[in-house]
């Protein structure tokens, strides 16, 4: 067992973990972050995407021991139980989800992309949005709703920035 300190969604905790434990499992079981979904556990589906020191990372391809003294954000950090982050609202209004299993991964992958587009003050082409989310698999929506949601979130972000 190795002692590590992780800051998860702003809360620091020191705990002992076996080296083989995946970050995804530790976030779910030790931190109670059940929004971290595990779809494939080999880096193909993107459901377990979290931010490690601000950068999207597949938590099923990361050992918790590697993250000692790191800061991690999960989907719970976005809009809480009311899911009121602008991208979450856009997913609702544009039918960007159905069963919702893949949604936390899509959100954690796409929030930095949306933020970047707003900073660059441009609405991305659909092809660019699809490339940004190419590491995430959704079985319900056929992706069109998710592309619309991203476009809407960027558009809304640009409007509120201009206002």
């Amino acid at each position: 067992m190795i002692e590590i300190t992780l800051e998860v969604n702003g809360v620091k905790k020191t705990l002992s973990v076996e080296p083989r434990r995946l970050l995804a499992d530790v976030l779910r079981h030790e931190f109670g972050m059940s929004g971290v979904h595990i779809g494939c556990a080999h880096g193909a589906c993107g459901c377990c995407t979290v931010h490690l020191d601000g950068t999207p990372r597949l938590s099923c391809l990361t050992f918790a021991v590697q993250c000692d003294n790191s800061s991690i954000s999960t989907v719970e950090s976005l809009g809480g139980t009311t899911a009121d982050h602008p991208l979450q609202k856009a997913f609702r209004s544009e039918h960007g989800l159905q069963c919702g299993y893949c949604t936390p991964g899509f959100l954690m992958t796409l929030v930095p992309f949306v933020d970047e587009m707003v900073i660059q003050k441009r609405i991305p082409e659909d092809e660019e949005i699809r490339e940004a989310m190419s590491g995430n698999i959704c079985r319900c929506t056929g992706y069109h709703g998710i592309v619309s949601a991203v476009r809407k979130a960027v558009t809304d972000g640009l409007k509120s920035g201009a206002a």
């Binding site: 080296p19 556990a41 190419s134 590491g135």
Partner: protein, 289 residues
């Protein structure tokens, strides 16, 4: 699935990493981005007894050193997209990077990891073979440079000995009038490629003076195509005979059947990708002439 037990060690310097790898021999593996190693461990296809975490070592530089561009083993794939040296000297390399996994994998995966893993469909091993790169390998006692053509021995098998670690890849800098391209086809964007072709060309007075070509998908590791490299010399850039080159090359290889594509499909695909790669490289050469 979940990985088997192992012991974890965080290397604090390159020497420390090499000492640990020396100590653990066969049982030790360096871990960088983990984008290939951890899936293998989750499936229990890899069960290293000791992981040496090298992520905090300063091995992520891209720099010109005399006649070569040296890329540190920990350079993440995303770093190539806005690197002017890659864009200027290694266009086929830049093309190839677009086919690596997807954005999250590109932010975390490293060149040393991809080269050491030696997946037969991976892009960076093919790029290293195309450009005649040297793989710089360190152990506690030795440093050696292994030409890419001698480094990849089979699928997931390299010339690395226990205790050794890839620390950099050195790409010879090309001459001025030089271009290239890389094309790949996979079932979905970011999937393992069914086949890929890389081309580099030197040219003068509207004709090809020297060519190199690499193919993944024809064998268990990326192979060069000496017959086509010779065939292309002297061909005009405006009509390089790319379709014929594709047909000649496809007739010379013996690809395997697998669950994704039949050998015949793959042979046809390789012929077509060869044509496309040559045409794209020649178009770029004409734009630069």
């Amino acid at each position: 699935m979940r990985p088997a037990s192992f012991e974890y060690h965080r290397a604090t310097s390159l020497d420390h990493a090499l000492e640990l790898l020396h100590q653990f021999g066969d049982e030790g593996r360096p871990i960088a981005g983990g984008q290939s190693l951890v899936p293998m461990m989750n499936f229990r296809l890899a069960r290293p007894g000791h992981l040496v975490d090298i992520n905090r070592l300063p091995l992520n530089v891209i720099e010109i050193d005399g006649p070569v561009l040296r890329i540190g083993a920990l350079t993440r794939h995303i770093a190539y997209f806005d690197n002017p040296l890659i864009a200027k000297y290694f266009p086929a390399f830049l093309d190839a990077v677009h086919y690596i996994g997807h954005p999250t994998i590109r932010r975390n995966g490293s060149i040393g990891g991809s080269i050491s893993h030696a997946d037969p469909t991976a892009e960076l091993p093919a790029v290293a073979v195309l450009y005649d790169a040297d793989i710089v390998v360190r152990s506690l006692e030795t440093t050696r440079k292994i030409n890419a053509a001698e480094f990849f021995l089979s699928a997931y098998v390299t010339a690395l000995e226990p205790g050794e670690m890839v620390v950099a890849i050195e790409f010879p800098l090309p001459p001025e009038a030089y271009t290239g391209s890389f094309v790949e086809l996979s079932e979905r964007s970011g999937d393992f490629g069914m086949a890929s072709i890389g081309i580099t060309l030197e040219f003068a007075d509207g004709a090809i003076t020297k060519a190199a070509m690499v193919c993944s998908g024809a064998d268990l590791f990326p192979i060069r195509a000496p017959e086509i490299e010779e065939y292309l010399v002297g061909k005009p850039l405006a009509s390089p005979g790319s379709a014929e080159a594709g047909a000649i090359f496809a007739a010379s290889i013996d690809p395997a059947d697998d669950h994704i594509a039949s050998a015949e499909y793959r042979r046809g695909l390789i012929a077509e990708l060869t044509r496309r790669a040559i045409d794209i490289a020649c178009t770029r050469a004409l734009e630069r002439s």
